[in-house]
Structure formats: structure tokens, C-alpha cells
């Protein structure tokens, strides 16, 4: 009975169990799947190569009424949507043309806006079980461990990436990592003052129109990686460059004039300054 076949069988099963444990510990489902790369070495290193796909990520807004987290999510989804699969966005008051600037084609989105929180999460789970989707984004409150685990399992089973966007930060979260979660990463995104655009030197360093405030620079976000399974936490000041569609570290761009100015608002203000300045 206990022949060599039995031992072999046992060894195979043991190896299988070990592999399963390893997978559970690491939490990286798709080891064969390349992660989503930010293009910023410091962030990618902290994540251990990039944002792993086919799992659940939480993105929390720092303050209510701060929509920087939406831009961050749209930028991630825009990069993720390269394989032409659609994305389910369970959102509210989302404005499609505003997503274009973050490299996300609104035509790739299907969207639904249930009013009840439970319905939103139902829709999210249904989406996570549909392999035809690249990703599901759900605007919701933070989940407890059980609900998050359920979504995480759905993501692992079907390879759909889930983003949970929490636009209203939980009051208890404070500065720390907040509650326990089944998600692989948790981010906190806050808007940060943009760099001055130095144009129209006639107006000096302010760069604005006469008597008015200075012009807008590129969107800047304070990106905090609060928790990351298999990686490090960190905090970065990131700028979104819509003309090239990638992230840049703000520290590396002290000089705002490095990139070509193609912001439309900027163009108009130059025209406006010309009119005001001469008049």
C-alpha cells in the first residue's frame, strides 16, 4: 500500500500545497502577468516592480471634495486599458470628457450608478466575475475585511483588476493606515498646489494676467502608498503630464518650462495677456 507511488503522490500534493501557501502569502495572483508600471522607479520599486493586476486596490481621497483621486484612478485605468477590454465604472456625476486628459477613452467605459451602497458592491462583484472586463472601479466606502476578501477572491479567480475609490474619507482613518483590508494596496491621494507656469515674463514671476492670480500648472497630487502587500509604503509628489500621458515626480521638474506648453488654457491666457498687457 505504502509503496513508492504513495510517497510520490504525497510529495506532489505537498508541493502543490506549498505553492498555494506561497501564493496566499504573496497575494500576487498573476505572477505570469506583468504588473502595471508607473514609469517612476521609486514608486515601482516600492510596489515591487509595479502595481499588480487582477487584484483589489483601494484609493482613498484625502479630503471630501478633493477629486485628485479620480484623476489618479483614471490615469491608472487609462494605462490598464491598453488591451482594449472595457472598464466598468460604478460612479456618480462622472464627466466623460474630463477623463480624456488622463488617457482614458470614455468610449471604453460602461457605467452604472446605483444609489444604494449594497447595489454598488453587487455591481462591482458582478463586474469582477466577468473576464471580458479589464477592470472595475467602484466608488464606495471602505470595505470591511469580509467584503474586501470576497472581492479580492473574485478578482483573483477572473483576473479582473478592482479599484475601490473612496471619495469620502472615513473619519476614523486619520493619518495612519486605517482599518484592516483585504486589498493588495491602499493609496491616499490629495491635491497639491501646482507649479507656477513661467510664461509672459512681462508680468514677472506671477505669470498670471494683470491683477489676477497666477496660471494653473499641471495637476499635482500627493500620492501616499499607505499599505502594500509585498512592498514598501511611501509618499511622493507626482505630476500628471497630459501631453505625454505619464507621471512625473514633481521634484524632478522644478523647472516647469522643461516640457512643451500645450495646455489650452495656457494658450488662451497668453492671448489674453497680450491683449491686457498692451491695453
Amino acid at each position: 500500500m505504502e509503496g513508492p507511488e504513495g510517497d510520490l503522490d504525497k510529495a506532489v500534493r505537498l508541493a502543490g500545497l506549498r505553492a498555494m501557501l506561497r501564493r496566499l502569502e504573496q497575494g500576487s495572483v498573476a505572477a505570469d502577468r506583468p504588473p502595471l508600471v508607473f514609469g517612476l522607479p521609486s514608486i515601482d520599486d516600492a510596489l515591487g516592480g509595479g502595481l499588480s493586476l487582477g487584484c483589489l486596490h483601494e484609493i482613498v481621497a484625502a479630503v471630501e471634495g478633493d477629486d485628485a483621486a479620480t484623476g489618479f484612478c483614471a490615469a491608472l485605468l487609462g494605462r490598464l486599458a491598453a488591451d482594449s477590454k472595457p472598464i466598468l465604472w460604478i460612479g456618480h456625476e462622472l464627466y466623460a470628457p474630463g477623463l480624456l486628459a488622463f488617457g482614458l477613452d470614455p468610449g471604453r467605459l460602461i457605467t452604472v450608478d446605483p444609489s444604494r451602497p449594497a447595489d454598488r458592491l453587487t455591481a462591482m462583484e458582478e463586474g469582477m466575475r466577468c473576464s471580458a472586463l479589464a477592470a472595475v472601479l467602484c466608488e464606495s466606502d471602505l470595505l470591511d475585511l469580509t467584503a474586501g476578501r470576497r472581492l479580492q477572491l473574485a478578482a483573483e479567480a477572473h483576473g479582473v483588476t478592482g479599484l475601490l475609490l473612496c471619495r469620502q474619507p472615513p473619519p476614523s482613518a486619520g493619518q495612519g493606515t486605517g482599518r484592516a483590508s483585504a486589498a493588495v494596496t491602499r493609496w491616499r491621494i490629495a491635491a497639491a498646489p501646482s507649479a507656477a507656469r513661467r510664461v509672459g515674463s512681462a508680468q514677472g514671476s506671477s505669470g498670471g494676467s494683470v491683477g489676477g492670480p497666477p496660471l494653473l500648472g499641471r495637476p499635482r497630487w500627493r500620492v501616499e502608498l499607505l499599505r502594500c502587500r509585498g512592498g514598501r509604503t511611501g509618499e511622493w509628489l507626482v505630476e500628471w503630464r497630459d501631453e505625454t500621458g505619464d507621471f512625473a515626480l514633481a521634484a524632478a521638474l522644478c523647472d516647469g518650462s522643461a516640457a512643451p506648453a500645450r495646455n489650452d488654457i495656457l494658450q488662451w491666457d497668453i492671448a489674453r495677456q497680450a491683449a491686457d498687457g498692451t491695453g
Binding site: P106, D119, G211, L216
Partner: protein
């Protein structure tokens, strides 16, 4: 006034239409219940619905069918093509009667070539003797049902009283006075004479009963021929049994749909409960489908919400709305039933259906561009799987990532009339503007007739502002010049 009487009261000499005082005089120990016409009608409608387990074509007898004449309420069933499912016509009627009796209804049933003959036989031919052929034209089942041999109406109706022709009471009385008491007495009388004396009704009813004149009956629910019907040997009490039944029903229906080159858009599952109730679940699909697995999944979620009561004894699955589905692509992986289309949409259809059939998740949309420069009109929300739901987005000036459904008024402090504000208060929070861009002037759509006090008919100057924390907002000032009101319309990421 006595409305209805049972058998024992009839034996005591009571008749409908008798004043209550007279009735009490005839039978002092009479048990009286107030009549409830609405409740009776509702019960009758429920029973007619329940009879859908025998035939899709059921109806409640209307008042002009003679219900008001004191011969009891009735149901019509057209069992053409259904009887063999229950072991024959007599067996079907006996089954029906048996169930009604178990629920406490005193029911009689007859089956004939015409509604008129069936009506007459059900009320005036007692099949209780049962079990054998009464004469050449009638057979009775063991349960008391009466079945007319095809073509035997004339002979079978002959001995019945004229009241069996669904006539108004005064017509019946008039005929009675002339000695025309049985239907056979009417056969030799010329029609013209009948019409002159009693109007058209006796002749018409006679023709209807004999099948000389067609008599249409409006079925309660619209009859559908795309039905899969399943009768269970024993009442199903558990969801597992129903799931298996559902699997068979969907397979059966999809087979019918495939043969007809159709796909279902709307379906209804009806569960017939042992206690006479019917539970229904309806689903819709985003595109015509005849994929049994997909349909089964859609219904499976609804099954859990349905109250099974004391058990389900039959189920019908009906395709209420269908659309042509000719081209059939057999996928390599064996997926079947999806029409040719974009692969991404095909793969999405099951998801859209699952979401769309949940209550509270009605609108699954896709954004498309619309030719308008007004921000709130520039996006067209289309149904997710409608063809041509995507389009080309023209480049436009910076747009926010969130657009409020209604622009919210803000209090501002602006130093110069044409400049962005320095300070503004939104949702009780003060924001100090650090940077700003604009204005971008957005005029009303000139191709629309201007309406008074509509916000879309005023020129707006939009500013993109950033407060000291870096948060970005989209503000606009209403009105062309100077001191217009300020609103916050969107949030930038």
C-alpha cells in the same frame, strides 16, 4: 337578496334573486354570508391564472356569457393541443376538478367543440354518475367531468333546458311560456319567428353552441406559443429541484427558439403553487438570446426571491418578446447562441443582462460624444450595448472629471469684473484661489429657441481655479458682463 346558494340550500328551495327575508322564512337555520363581488372576481382571476398550468389560453367568463343569470361563475380554457400532456381530455378535466374540490370549490367541468356547448354541459349535465359513456355523444370521467364526442353537440344539447343557451332570464321565461322548454324544441322553429319574438339572442346562442357561428374568447394573458411547460410529479419544495426544472425548461425553450430562428428579449417564468397561487419572475435581455446557460443564470438569481409556499407543481417558461436571431456563431470554445457582433460586446452581454435584471440597477450606460458645446449636453449616455454607442471625442478645452448634476451657487469675492474670484465659499468652506485659468465663454446653443429663466440660455464664463491646497474647481459666472451670479459646476482631478 340572495346572490348565490349551495346545493343544500337549493334542495331547501332557495334560488338566487330571492329576498333574504323570504329565504330565512323558507330555511330558518340559513347560514348567510355577505356577497363580496370584488373578492370573488379576484379569486376567479387568480384561478384562471393558475389554470395556465393546463393551457396558455385561459379566461374568466364575462357577465354577458350568462354569469349574471344565476348559474355560477366560470372559467374558459382552450385546451386544444394540450390534453395529451395530461393523459387525455377527460383526464385533464378530472385532474382540474380534483384540485378544485380539494381547495373546497364546488366545480363542474365540461369539454366540447364550442364554448356554448361546454357552458351548457358543465351546468346542466351532471357527470357524477361517471365512468362510462352516458349515450353516444357524451363520455364522463371518473372525476365527474363531461366530455362531448366531436360533432355530437346537436344531439347532446337536445334534452337540456333552454336556459342552457346562456339566455337572459326574461327570454328564458318567454320561451317557457310558449312551451319551448328544451333545446330540442327550438331546432324546428324558423329563425325569423324566433327573432321576431325574442330578439336575436336565442338563435345566436343556438348557433354558437352548435358551432355554426364562431365565438371568440379573449384569453386572460396574451397567449404565447413560445412556451416550455413542465409538470412535476410531486410538488417541489426546494430551490435545487426548481433549478433543475429551470434547466430543462430553458433547454426546451431554447430548442424551440433555435428551430424558429428567434432569440428572446423578454421572458417570464411562472411557478404554479400547490395552493393555487402563481409566482412570476420576468427578465429582459440586452440582445436576443437563446443561450440556455445565460437564461438560466438570469433566472437563478430571481428564484431565490420567490415564495415557494407549500410547493411548486408546475412551471412554465414563456418568451414574451422575441427578435430574429438568424446568424449563429458556434464559438471554438463551444459557446453557443451569441449573434455575430463585436467580440467585446458579445462577452459583455451576459454582464449587462445580469446587472440590468437586478432591481435598482436599471441603467447601464456608455458615454458617447454629442455635438454640443454646453458641458451638460456634450455627453450622451447610451445603453451599454446599443450599436454605435461610441464615437470620436473632439479635443476641447480642459474639462472637469466630475460635473455636478446641478450647478451649485457659490459666494465669491472678485476684485475685477472680468477676473476669476479671489475667494469663494462652496458647501460652507472657504477656498482661497491661488491659481486660475480662463475665462472660457460658453454661449447658449443658437439652434435652440431661447426659453425664459433656463440656465442653459445664458452666456457663461467659465474659470478653472485652484485653491491653496491644490484642489481644482470649475466655476462660472452667469450673464455676459459684470455682476452675474457665480456657480460651481465641476471638480477637476
Amino acid at each position: 337578496m340572495v346572490v348565490a346558494v349551495d346545493r343544500r340550500a337549493t334542495a331547501a328551495g332557495l334560488r338566487p334573486g330571492l329576498p333574504l327575508a323570504d329565504a330565512r322564512a323558507l330555511a330558518p337555520d340559513l347560514a348567510v354570508r355577505p356577497a363580496d363581488p370584488e373578492g370573488e372576481a379576484a379569486t376567479l382571476a387568480r384561478l384562471a391564472e393558475w389554470c395556465g398550468r393546463y393551457s396558455p389560453w385561459t379566461a374568466v367568463e364575462a357577465a354577458e356569457d350568462g354569469t349574471g343569470a344565476g348559474y355560477g361563475a366560470g372559467l374558459w380554457l382552450d385546451v386544444t393541443g394540450c390534453a395529451h400532456l395530461f393523459g387525455g381530455e377527460a383526464a385533464l378535466l378530472d385532474d382540474l376538478l380534483g384540485r378544485f374540490r380539494r381547495w373546497g370549490y364546488a366545480a363542474r367541468a365540461a369539454l366540447a367543440d364550442t364554448p356554448g356547448a361546454a357552458w351548457a354541459l358543465a351546468r346542466f349535465k351532471d357527470g357524477a354518475a361517471g365512468g362510462e359513456t352516458i349515450d353516444d355523444t357524451l363520455t364522463t370521467g371518473p372525476g365527474g367531468s363531461v366530455v362531448l364526442v366531436p360533432g355530437g353537440a346537436r344531439a347532446a344539447l337536445a334534452p337540456l333546458p333552454v336556459a342552457a343557451l346562456r339566455l337572459a332570464p326574461e327570454v328564458t321565461e318567454g320561451l317557457d311560456r310558449l312551451g319551448l322548454r328544451r333545446i330540442v324544441d327550438l331546432y324546428p322553429i324558423p329563425r325569423a319567428t324566433l327573432v321576431r319574438r325574442f330578439g336575436p339572442s336565442p338563435g345566436l346562442r343556438l348557433d354558437q353552441a352548435l358551432g355554426c357561428v364562431a365565438e371568440p374568447i379573449s384569453p386572460r394573458p396574451p397567449a404565447a406559443d413560445l412556451v416550455a411547460r413542465l409538470i412535476f410529479a410531486e410538488p417541489i419544495l426546494h430551490i435545487e429541484g426548481l433549478t433543475e426544472g429551470l434547466r430543462r425548461s430553458t433547454a426546451e425553450l431554447c430548442r424551440v427558439l433555435t428551430a424558429a430562428a428567434l432569440g428572446a428579449r423578454r421572458l417570464e417564468l411562472a411557478l404554479y403553487r400547490v395552493d393555487g397561487g402563481v409566482r412570476r419572475a420576468r427578465i429582459g435581455t440586452s440582445r436576443p438570446t437563446r443561450d440556455p446557460a445565460a437564461l438560466q443564470r438570469l433566472f437563478a438569481e430571481r428564484l431565490e426571491d420567490l415564495d415557494l409556499g407549500f410547493g411548486i407543481e408546475a412551471m412554465t417558461l414563456t418568451a414574451l418578446e422575441v427578435a430574429p436571431l438568424p446568424a449563429l456563431q458556434l464559438g471554438l470554445a463551444g459557446r453557443q447562441g451569441a449573434p455575430l457582433g463585436t467580440p467585446a460586446d458579445d462577452a459583455l452581454a451576459p454582464l449587462v443582462d445580469r446587472l440590468g435584471n437586478r432591481p435598482g440597477l436599471a441603467a447601464i450606460l456608455r458615454f458617447g460624444p454629442r455635438e454640443s458645446h454646453l458641458p451638460e449636453r456634450a455627453v450622451a449616455a447610451k445603453r451599454a450595448l446599443d450599436p454605435g454607442a461610441s464615437g470620436v471625442w473632439h479635443p476641447m478645452p480642459p474639462r472637469p472629471s466630475r460635473l455636478l448634476a446641478r450647478p451649485e451657487p457659490v459666494e465669491v469675492t472678485a476684485l475685477l469684473p472680468d477676473h476669476p474670484p479671489v475667494l469663494f465659499r462652496w458647501r460652507a468652506r472657504l477656498h482661497r484661489v491661488a491659481r486660475a485659468g480662463g475665462p472660457e465663454r460658453i454661449a447658449p446653443e443658437w439652434w435652440r429657441a431661447p426659453r425664459q429663466d433656463a440656465s442653459s440660455d445664458v452666456i457663461r464664463d467659465y474659470f478653472q481655479v485652484e485653491d491653496e491646497d491644490g484642489r481644482r474647481f470649475w466655476l462660472y459666472r452667469e450673464g455676459s458682463e459684470g455682476a452675474g451670479r457665480w456657480y460651481l459646476h465641476g471638480l477637476f482631478a
